[in-house]
Point group: C2
Chain length 239, copies 2
């Protein structure tokens, strides 16, 4: 039988003051998040907010013609479903599990009650939301100005930061969907990185061999976002 893991693997849950933690703990529900699961669909109202621990969730926008682009990524540093406390109840984007894992969820009503009290939870979640905004903004800029190769490095690093080990279970096709580019483009980029000895991959398994090398190759966008997360959420356990 599986051992129910520690909610505090999620940095936001870990950062809760004792009082809030005690109130939340009985309401938190452990959930498995399998690869590809759609956690919420564009325009749909959410029943829960999700605090990933080992899973990574991709916030995707899907265009009318079926093309897509990732607008942000959420892992154990954050929470999925900000529209619940921001007040909109739904968003125009979709949340998909990009890397299988687990997380904890809290009923929407409980979160809203907590939010009304304007206590530390409110400030924590709003600071997280600002970090997420930074990621969104940087994605927009990066999409405009940077080369696919660089964006691929950025994407790998963002995923790596939210993972335990250094292996991603992820096909090039899926990465292409996230980045909003062709699969062949990812193949070419990945080939270059492999030839440079930075990664190794094989049928849907990517292993990062040289993290510093990736950081050298990526555009400034990765560091900007990382720094802003660290600045806005300093009370959280280091990655």
């Amino acid at each position: 039988m599986p051992i129910t893991p520690d909610p505090k693997l999620n940095h936001l849950l870990a950062a809760l003051p004792d009082a809030e933690w005690c109130r939340w703990q009985p309401m938190l529900q452990w959930v498995k998040l399998p690869l590809g699961e759609v956690m919420y669909e564009s325009g749909r109202t959410l029943g829960h907010v999700y605090f990933p621990t080992t899973a990574i969730i991709s916030l995707l926008y899907v265009l009318e013609d079926g093309a897509s682009a990732e607008i942000a990524v959420v892992g154990n540093e954050g929470v999925v479903g900000i529209s619940l406390f921001m007040g909109g109840e739904s968003t125009t984007s979709r949340a998909v599990v990009q890397s299988a894992g687990e997380g904890w969820r809290l009923p929407a009503r409980a979160l809203k009650q907590e939010f009304e009290q304007a206590g530390p939870v409110l400030h924590l979640l709003l600071r997280y939301t600002q970090a997420l905004i930074t990621q969104l903004a940087q994605t927009a800029v990066c999409n405009r100005h940077h080369l696919l190769d660089q964006q691929l490095c950025r994407w790998l690093l963002l995923s790596l930061d939210r993972l335990q080990g250094s292996e991603l279970v992820m096909t090039q096709e899926l990465i292409a969907n996230m980045l909003g580019v062709r699969r062949e483009g990812v193949t070419e980029g990945a080939l270059k990185l492999q030839k440079a000895g930075l990664i190794h991959y094989q049928r849907g398994h990517i292993t990062v061999l040289d993290r510093a090398g990736l950081e050298k190759r990526t555009c400034e966008c990765y560091a900007v976002v990382k720094k802003e997360y660290d600045r806005l959420l300093p009370d959280l356990p280091a990655q």
Copy 2:
């Protein structure tokens, strides 16, 4: 002597309940916002939040190499300086006046006090912030997938919605900076629109002749953002 204009031209100020309005009114300060003025710089802490009435403000990200891209635009529907109530105090982007005009500002401290009370102001501002997030996300997607021509239409429409008349004072060079493209690209796009009879322009003055025509030409991104603003901020006066 100039007549001090009505703060309620800003939709957020107009949507304040009476109690809050009375509290704020004596603290609101009228400001002119001339074209090109940098309202805040990346990483700098803000002293005020700004509620534009007739001005339009562009949120720009400037890359290390000097290239730039607009991540969102704020007019009389919104507020500049969300990082003050989100808790980050600063952002990685820059705010520049894209269309000269006026607005009202409120000291940061006053806003934060208001926010602590977890009243209607908090919910109003958070819903606005979610709308802004939608704009950011759509900008990212649009940058990835859509043609310059379509993006130009989107940009013109977003500006038009935040203007009184139908004339923009704006050179093609400036538009290019916002969109993060070459000036020549904007020239070509604008030529096409002029030949199609949708706009007329002359040395930094662009007049929109056929709004519906622009809406037909633009990508889906414009409508998505517009609809989301309307949904999230329905209590505000129609544009």
